[in-house]
Amino acid sequence: MTTPIYMDYSATTPVDARVAKKMMQYLTMDGDFGNPASNSHYYGWQADEAVKKARQQVADLIGADAKEIVWTSGATESNNLAIKGIAHFYHKKGKHIITLKTEHKAVLDTCRQLEREGYEVDYLDPMPNGLLDINVLKATMREDTILVSIMHVNNEIGVIQDIETIGNLCRENKVFFHVDAAQSAGKVAIDLSKLPVDLMSFSAHKIYGPKGMGALYVQRKPRIRLEAQMHGGGHERGMRSGTLATHQIVGMGEAFAIANAEMVEENKRIRALRDRLLAGFDGMEEVVINGDMDARIPGNLNISFNYVEGESLMMAINEIAVSSGSACTSASLEPSYVLRALGLSDELAHSSIRFTIGRYTTEQDVDKAIALVREKVQKLRDLSPLWDMFKEGIDISKVEWAAH
């Protein structure tokens, strides 16, 4: 069996072989397997050295101090720790939180939990291009607002929020600012020594590191306090207990170091591939790009082929692995809430395909994807009663459908 071409790099990335090689040195008896907290012997010291180095590698990519990095199990945990940690520690200051409707579920669901605990949360609508209107945020801020949480890059549509402008507004209003950067680290330059950001979440597996590993940046000057969500041995300055997973940490560090060294060149290459993919769809009718095309990471193309249902298209192009905003791909039978928040009609949301291109994508892969999509979209449109209606000039939004 030939495996499909991977074009789902925003879901996860393969671990870079250089990263995997490093990680394997921290597992076995002949490696540095020690507990980094064992400060009384050689094995612990070796592991602690490795963790220190990785902490510096992560900090270097994002312009932070190594002491500002807290290891976690991934961006979901980082988001939980940041949002609940701030809310619980500073609840006397206020109980109002602002976020965006297109955030990852790890942010939205955490906010829902805080609502159950008595906090108030505003979920802002983005503009139709996916970006936050700063005036909307300004108008939503209150005396008792304690936290704004806005993602840097959206996982579905790849748009990049202007976190500098948002952060400045937060600073003026003395509101903490958390950024989920799971999809941006290694793709967008981040310099936390200059950016007005208090907390930032990272994931390793989105940037060619291992799954189950992440970090939270917690600013030290001025010092941000958090209530721990995981209690135990007081690791990570009490903010996150649990024995450090040396090999995972080393993997994340190495992945961040590689990104630091190669990001500029890699972005150029990936952008050229993405543009080639988009150009390949030139001349197709009823094709809509979802999300802003300028403020967007190089590797993302989220596109709707109207009158074709996304899941059946994915099935038709199963020689490439992509994802869709179609309801049928989720358990809920609801189409993508991100695309709906942009104001897309249900049918356009159902018709969306997300291509995400990465380190191992080739020109041949892109050309194959173009040919397949062009062929199969035509095939499915020939099968689509909606396409017939569109061709007859019937406005589908005006038809009364029997919902089911």
């Binding site: 249902e309 179609s326 049918e347 459908w401 029997a402």
Partner: protein, 125 residues
């Protein structure tokens, strides 16, 4: 989601794709579902003078299971009287195609489509 063999067969080689003259007296059209829900089926049947379905055509917007359900249905209804066709149950379709629970609504839609097509033809009589 991995699909069963029969779904894949109907999806890759759909039977009886096409359109019949919806204004003809002996053609019944059933259009069910909604774009917002991610599936729309149009099933058309043509009956001969003996009241037997001699031709069936479909077009479907939807997932693989929806396309396969409607394709299978066109095969099944051919040669049946309207009464016989109206007895086709969604559970028969779901069973034949081995649809997983989350896809059973596709077979329900197919049952609705044949019922709607039969009603349409009866309303023309």
């Amino acid at each position: 989601m991995a699909y069963g063999e029969k779904v894949m067969d109907h999806y890759e080689n759909p039977r009886n794709v096409g359109v019949l003259d919806k204004d003809a007296k002996n053609v019944g059209t059933g259009m069910v579902g909604a774009p917002a829900c991610g599936d729309v089926m149009r099933l058309q049947i043509q009956v001969n003078d003996d009241g037997v379905i001699e031709e069936a055509k479909f077009k479907t917007y939807g997932c693989g299971s929806a396309i396969a359900s409607s394709s299978l249905l066109t095969e099944w209804v051919k040669g049946k009287t309207l009464d016989e066709a109206s007895e086709i149950k969604n559970t028969d379709i779901a069973e034949e195609l081995a649809l997983p629970p989350v896809k059973v609504h596709c077979s329900v839609l197919a049952e609705d489509a044949i019922k709607a097509a039969i009603n349409d033809i009866k309303s023309k009589a």
